[in-house]
């Protein structure tokens, strides 16, 4: 179960980390969902054109970034309402992908294209001597192993670089940037583009794992990724924990369907309930703790 939870976590985490940048720069990116979808579609298309997984992931990344740029242009440059722009981007992705798909391949349903390679498992034959660990951590698809460097990189960039400092300052108070002659919009743009990359990559993982593109394949994961940002208290490592928690909760609900006599449909609500409870428990603990003021 943990093995699959890790697999489920990977796209959530990548999208969440991307969204974290936007969030810290002061832009609530509710378009993660649409960017993931676009990433998934582009990943299959480019994987099919090139026959390469790497190209597929690159395609996903680019697609997410393109939407992110649109987000930036309308939401930041044109000063539109961020929330509405986000909704619009989601709609745009949901509407134009079937459109493109039917123009390019004559179908807007399941898109099974030739030459899309299978996502290989990594570190398959290796043994570390701890069979349990091997079982949980080895043999995942490539994207999973991307997440660890991604978390570290995000932490490094956000906390340890001038860029990260400026980005975080943008979100807290853009005036302070203006006061020292920096343009906060630049950092918002960078943050949005990064979030587009994260979400696009996450989408490509979803699709490449299946080897096909399906309408609505993101299935609300963009929203969950958004939730992990808050659950993770806006820290990269926190997002990791939150995404893992959510994935585990999802894993519990999936596994419970086979074991418990509770109707499967009800169990689908379980991850959300577990998450709320975790959130309350955490907040309540923080309140009780003497370190709080």
């Amino acid at each position: 179960m943990i093995y699959y939870a890790i697999e489920v976590m990977a796209p959530l985490l990548l999208a969440g980390l991307g969204g974290l940048f936007a969030e810290l720069a002061g832009v609530l990116n509710i378009a993660l969902e649409g960017m993931m979808l676009a990433g998934a579609f582009a990943a299959i298309v480019s994987a099919s054109l090139t026959g390469s997984i790497a190209a597929g992931m690159l395609g996903g990344l680019i697609a997410g970034t393109v939407l992110a740029y649109l987000f930036y242009f309308v939401g930041i440059r044109m000063r539109a309402n961020i929330f509405i722009v986000g909704l619009a981007i989601n709609l745009l992705a949901a509407g134009s992908i079937p459109f493109l798909s039917s123009a390019m391949y004559g179908t807007k349903g399941v898109l099974r294209l030739p030459r899309v390679p299978r996502m290989p498992g990594f570190f398959v034959g290796i043994e570390t001597g701890f069979p349990l660990l091997d079982q949980i951590f080895l043999g995942h698809s490539f994207g999973v192993y991307l997440t660890v460097p991604a978390v570290l990189l995000a932490g490094l960039v956000l906390q340890r670089t001038p860029f990260g400092l400026r980005l975080r300052s943008t979100g807290k108070n853009p005036e302070t940037l203006r006061a020292v002659g920096l343009n906060p919009d630049r950092y918002r743009r960078a943050a949005l583009l990064i979030s587009g990359m994260g979400a696009g990559l996450a989408g490509s993982l979803l699709a490449l794992r299946l080897g096909v593109y399906l309408p609505n394949v993101s299935a609300g994961r963009g929203w969950i990724a958004l939730v992990t940002i808050y659950l993770g208290y806006k820290r990269p490592f926190g997002v990791l924990i939150a995404a893992l928690c959510f994935a585990l909760a999802e894993g519990v609900s999936v596994a419970a369907q086979g074991v418990l006599q509770i109707p499967g449909t009800i169990l689908l609500g379980l991850p959300y309930i577990l998450t709320v409870l975790a959130m309350i428990a955490y907040s309540a603990m923080r309140r009780v703790a003497p370190s709080d003021d």
């Binding site: 340890r160 670089t161 108070n173 002659g181 003497p290 370190s291 709080d292």
Partner: protein
Amino acid sequence: MDLRHITKRYPENDVLAVRDVSLELRSGEIHALIGENGAGKSTLMKIAAGLLSSYDGEVRSRATDVCRLVQQHPQFIPHHQVWENLFLGIEPRTRWGLLNQEAAVRDFSALAGRYAFPVEPRMRAEGLSAAQAQLAAILGALLHNPDTLILDEPTAPCSDHETALVFEMMRSLRDDGRAVVLITHKLREVMEVSDRITVMRHGRVVGSLLTADTTPNELSSLMIGEDYQHSSSDRRFGVLRIDSGTAGRRSPVEKQDLETATAQTSPPNFQIPESRADPVFELREVSLVRRGRTLLERLNLKLYPGEILGVTGIRENGLEYIEDILSGSTEPNSGEVRIQGSRPSRYTPRAFRKLGLAYIPTDRLMRGASLSSSVEDNMILLDRKRFGRAGLLNRRASAHFSSALQQKFGITAVLGNPMHTLSGGNMQKVILSRELSQHSPVVVFSEPSWGLDFRSSERIHDEILRLSETGVGIILISSDIDEILSLCDRIVVMYKGNFARTLHGDERVRDTIGELMLGIEPEHSQSGAPGEAGVPQAPGEIESKDSAKGYGQ
């Protein structure tokens, strides 16, 4: 730097803030810019620093020159550390292009050390006291190594000691051949530190003089535009009577019209107590502990009707915590508060106000005002219930009320415009007008005259005196010794979360207070009122890291 024929109009409220002003800032000179609230000082200097874009006229300077403005209310990102706030845009980097935190902290500490500013670079900005924030902001400007440094009311939140530090820094910059501009309302400071003085009134420059050639009286007449008589309680000229010791309460200037106006605008909401024997406000053994640190320790205090009790000290020695306790903003960990003999149901401003407390906060921007609401909405905050008829808000009555307050306090504002269009001083007047219209038996003033021009602060001082005459008990929290001295019957000095001493009558001497604030027990008198003052702990110097760490966060 040379400003030529600058004119600035704010389109939001159609205010002509600066009118055809020309000004020359010379290097190697400290240039004071004075004028009443709303005269246009801040606006002009923002233009000089390039922070405002649409204006008429010309700003000339050498292309390589750096000009930095420290704003009137410096704003930091609360969650970020001080160095993160200040090195924004000029971050030192390591070889790998990463943030070089060590270098930043080192540079900062070196600079802070040079001017003896007690600011810790790694502290979170939210933990800075107002004075520290001001000093930090100044350091932030200095990090840019400016050729022209403009300070907009830097001394407002500072105690004498910190003010002295700032002046020292200004002088050393001047001697270094830089141009320094000081905006302030304290003429004493102007006389003390500046080389040249420019006076503004209603957006115009009405005079530019050499400090050596002028007198405070001349300056104030220029500012006000008439020959102005200081009332005897004017503390800015307190130099004249600093040691007069017994100087207590002066008879207020006659303000008959004012009182009648008050009577008209609002019927008394509270009964002012007849008896003067029972305290109207009491702290009993109040302690405040946060994050394992004792910020306030077993404080006792009694305030009697008609009394003005001064609380002073360096702000980070507990002045802001006592403000929160006195106003109900924070719940003490032990002990209790009594207002007019009753205990508030909860420790919230709401409960305190119900028992008859009015409160003028230090933090005007966040706590004292809703910047995006209209001026009128800010004025009616406390009286809102009175304008409700069957739940509906009677806008005509509230407008009438607000314009009465506006007239009474001489507030320059359009009532329907958002609060953020007001000058700093006018904002404070709005807050004061609102609180004083309550007729509360207890009023807590915290730093009431920060940022006010002297006519306005004098009005406030007169108002405080008048209030106490009518039997209101007043607590005046202020880090300004002159203000405390000229108004208060009794003064408590805080040091490290304790009441170091309560001073009565002739003990109320400037030097004694100054020493107590720094934790030095003065030799000549040991007669603190028992039970109402803690004994200061280990005497130590305020700028030591200890105290900054201990009480800052």
